[in-house]
């Protein structure tokens, strides 16, 4: 009888063993279909188990990382408030984890904030940027790397000394945004480009408002990637991006290798900047400058 039991166990095991690489996917199979068709809208209308799951994962009480991160980056005695009106717009379910576009929209009451920090809790490099503004900013966008499923949090320091935290849970289909090579030859041309080429574009938004988009060609090596010969590629990333115009500085941004290679940054300003310029410094101490490419005039 024991033998039969053993046989049955073997059969059961073989069934499980062959159920594929995603069989232990934490969020359950239903999630991607459920959420990614219209991600951020659904977030506000909880109507499925996956929403509950993401809510649980987002709850800072359940996070192993949050307290340490908070103490380290916002300060031990920081006054922290989890708010609904700071939104992170991005997909719920990520297929390509090396270049994940996201936009943080900042509510009117916080346009004149003091500092903004973007965090990815489950990344080996958790901090993505720390931004010090010199003017009102309405939204900020960037491309990031995701190592694994993770809560993403944006912390905005207001003028009363309170940190306003907006959160979003994202799930990653194939992990390794920080630890595998960024360029996928299946979908891209993987020629190493010139390091430090800066492109700045300005777009008009409604009522004189402006969007600044900038792109800096840079490998943004995380120091976690192994090349084809098995050697670790040393970390090499942009440390600081300074944006200004004729009227003075717009923002000073400390950056980390959790930004994608050839990072793209996006800033929405309520008023049009004049001759926007960018100054970049990387971890080798190299400096790169850009002057506005005039496109509309």
């Amino acid at each position: 009888m024991f033998k039969i039991f053993l046989f049955i166990m073997v059969i059961l095991y073989s069934k499980f063993a062959y159920s594929g690489p995603f069989s232990d996917f934490k969020a359950g199979a239903g999630l991607s279909e459920e959420l990614s068709s219209s991600p951020t809208e659904r977030r506000n209308k909880p109507n499925s188990d996956s929403i509950v799951q993401s809510r649980d994962a987002l709850d800072s009480q359940n996070s192993e990382m949050w307290n340490d991160l908070k103490n380290k980056l916002l300060g031990k005695n920081a006054k922290v408030f989890f708010v609904e009106d700071v939104k992170i717009i991005m997909q719920d379910y990520i297929e390509e984890a090396h270049k994940v576009p996201l936009i943080v929209t900042i509510p009117k009451r916080l346009h004149n904030f003091n500092k903004l920090i973007l965090l990815i809790e489950n990344n080996p490099i958790q901090q993505v940027i720390s931004l010090k503004p010199y003017r009102s900013i309405e939204a900020i966008g960037m491309n990031v790397r995701l190592e694994d499923d993770s809560p993403i949090r944006v912390a905005i320091l207001d003028n009363d000394g309170n940190w306003n935290i907006g959160s979003k849970m994202v799930f990653v289909a194939s992990a390794g945004g920080c630890s595998t090579p960024a360029c996928d030859p299946a979908i891209e041309v993987c020629e190493p480009g010139i390091v430090g080429k800066i492109a700045v574009k300005e777009y008009e938004r409604e009522a004189g408002a402006q969007r600044i988009k900038l792109k800096i060609t840079h490998p943004m090596e995380t120091g976690f990637v192994v090349d084809t010969e098995g050697e670790i590629i040393p970390e090499y990333f942009i440390k600081n991006i300074h944006v200004d115009d004729i009227d003075g500085p717009i923002a000073d941004i400390t950056t980390f290798a959790a930004l994608s290679s050839d990072p793209v940054l996006l800033l929405d300003l309520p008023e049009k900047g004049q001759s926007v310029r960018v100054h970049v410094m990387d971890s080798h101490g190299l400096e790169f400058f850009s002057y506005k490419k005039n496109i509309s005039m």
Binding site: F7, G20, P101, S174, A186, V189, K201, R211
Partner: protein
């Protein structure tokens, strides 16, 4: 009790074999026209079930020799194809046309080289195959499992500078091979069988599923599809999906590539981020395509990136 044990034993036996035969391609050729056969790929993304055999492989038998179109994803697949072809005809497999370098079409080619088959492939695509092959292979192993790629190697092979179009005679069968460069890839090959008026177009045409645009020049691709529509054929074998008999079916590929290109250009012009576009979901008319979501999400940011700082 003995009877019961036997049943259990047989049950386990079957299960074990199922497990062992996981990495065996269960493919059967379909006869499209006399002496023309197609192995239909699984019209899906590469996954551990299909072993990466997602595109169509075909063979044409003449009175003297055989020509194969596309090598499939791996050495195992190539071996299986050769084995099956040999059961159909004892003639030598003289030519393999690799329509372009993407792994699902090219990675079986080392098996054909071993077989003494002459490989016909655009020069630009040979370069890409050699240059990116090993990295792509590693990625594929990660996605669908090492076992599918036993003995699969990226081989640097020589190919004399072929001037396309070229004519090949298989014995009583005239084949024309044409180059369509900078379209879907840097150099797609099209194979025409004059006798049966069958045309093999590789990934210049996708049937049912969403076309992928990673290395594409949309303008040229668009023109090429028009050219294909205007040319004279009764049967068209696309790179992915079912056999095509009506010219109108080519419009599906056209519609998708133009739609995604238009959206990407508009987004780039307005300074939109892919994050904002995804937020709107996939456009209604594109939902009917197979793998619409996956392809849309993968390709749109690439296109926006391409256009936004132009």
């Amino acid at each position: 009790m003995q009877y019961f044990k036997n049943i259990i034993f047989i049950f386990i036996l079957l299960n074990t074999f199922q497990a062992l035969s996981k990495n065996n391609f269960n493919i059967h050729p379909i006869e499209v026209s006399k002496n023309i056969y197609v192995f239909m790929g699984d019209n899906n993304d590469a996954n551990p079930k299909n072993g990466g055999a997602i595109s169509n492989t075909a063979f044409i038998i003449g009175t003297k020799s055989i020509l194969v179109i596309d090598a499939g994803p791996s050495y195992l697949y190539g071996s299986k194809v050769i084995e099956i072809i040999k059961s159909y005809s004892s003639l030598p497999i003289r030519y393999l046309v690799v329509t372009h370098h993407h792994p699902d079409h090219s990675f079986g080619l080392s098996r054909f080289i071993e077989n003494g088959t002459k490989i016909i492939m655009a020069k630009s695509e040979i370069n890409r195959y050699v240059k990116y092959g090993n990295r792509l292979l590693k990625q594929l192993k990660n996605i669908i499992g090492e076992d599918w790629f036993v003995d699969t190697k990226i081989v640097a092979f020589k190919n004399k500078n072929i001037k396309f179009p070229i004519n090949v005679n298989l014995g009583g069968r005239e084949i024309i091979i044409e180059l369509y460069d900078q379209g879907h890839s840097e150099g797609d090959l099209i194979v025409k069988d004059i006798l049966s008026k069958t045309i093999f177009v590789g990934d210049l045409v996708f049937n049912e599923r969403a076309p992928t645009i990673p290395h594409a020049n949309i303008n040229n691709w668009n023109k090429y599809i028009s050219t294909i529509m205007d040319s004279n054929w009764d049967y068209l074998v696309p790179g992915h999906g079912k056999l095509i008999k009506e010219k109108e079916e080519l419009l599906l590929t056209k519609y998708w590539i133009n739609y995604i290109d238009k959206i990407a250009k508009k987004a780039a012009k307005n300074g939109m981020s892919p994050a904002e576009i995804f937020n709107k979901g996939i456009p209604e008319p594109l939902l009917k395509y197979k793998l619409a979501k996956e392809t849309w999400i993968r390709d749109l940011p690439l296109l926006i990136n391409k256009y936004e700082f132009e």
